[in-house]
Subunit: 172 residues, 2 copies
Amino acid sequence: MKYGIAIFPSKNIQDEANSFRKRYDPHYALIPPHITLKEAFHVEENELKDMVTELKQIANETKPFTININKVSTFAPVTNTIYFKVEPVPALMDLQKKLQEGTLTNNLTHSFVPHITIGQQLMDDEYSDVFGTLKMSKFTFEDTIDRFQLLYQLENESWTVYETFVFGKEFI
Amino acid sequence: MKYGIAIFPSKNIQDEANSFRKRYDPHYALIPPHITLKEAFHVEENELKDMVTELKQIANETKPFTININKVSTFAPVTNTIYFKVEPVPALMDLQKKLQEGTLTNNLTHSFVPHITIGQQLMDDEYSDVFGTLKMSKFTFEDTIDRFQLLYQLENESWTVYETFVFGKEFI
C-alpha cells in the first residue's frame, strides 16, 4: 500500500490555506493542508508493524518545536506551485531527515523545502496573477508542532490517517 | 473547537464506499469513509489534554474486534441516507457507549446504529433508484478494528485527524 508522512498545522493555518486551496489546488479535497515530511512510498503489509515501531522511536526522540510562516513562495519555474514557506528550523529538518534513514526508504527526489501548498497545477497566466497578488500580502503564522501522521492513499488518491505519532508520548 | 470520533475501516472497504460516495454523498470530499462513534461536540482548548488521556484509557481497555458488513441499509423515511450496515457486535457497541460517559459529553441524539454512509441528501427519486439497486446487491466485508481517531473540523466543514488511539497501545 502507498503511505506518506505529514504534519497537519493548527486549524487557523489550515483554514487560511484552504481559503486559497479551494480555488487554486486540485488536491483540495484529497487531504487537509499539510507539510509533507515523506512523499508517497510503498510498504508491504508485513513490514508495517516494524515501520510503526521505528516511527514511534523517532517521535519519542523528537521534542515539540515551533514553526514560523512569514511569506508565500513558489517552486516556479519547476512547477507552478504556490505555498506558505515554512522556515527551515533545525528540529523540522532533522525530523524529515530521520524519516529517510534506517529501515525507512530514502525516497527523496529533491532537497527538502518545508512548505504548505496553497495552489498547484495552475495555468501560467493564472499562476502569475495569483502569485503576483499573494507575494505582496503579509502572512505571519507561528505554530507548535508536537506530532506527525502516517497516512495511506485510497484508490481515489485521497489520504486517510493510519496513525498519529506524538513526540515523547509513544509506547513501544 | 469542534471534535468528532470515528473509525476508518480498511482501504478495501473505503474504496468500495467511495465508489458510491463520489456520486451520492455531498460529504465525499470532507472526510474519508468512516463509522462515526461520536458526533461533533465542542471541546475547549484547556479541556483537550484531559480528554485525550480519557480516550487513551478507553483505547487501552478495548481489545481489537471484528466487524462485518453484509448489506446496504437506509435511514429512510427519517433521512434519505444509504449506508453499509455494520453488524452491532458488543465490542463496538460498548466502545461507542464509553465515548458518551465519564467526563466525555453525552451528545447522543438517537440510538447508535453503526454504519458507513455511502449516500445522503439525495432527492427522493434518486434515492429510490439508488437504494432499489443497492439493496439487491451483495456486499460482504469483514474487518479488524484496532483503533479509533479523534478529529477536528475546519471552517470548510472538512475534518483533520488530531490523534489516533490504538487499542492496548497507548502510553498514559
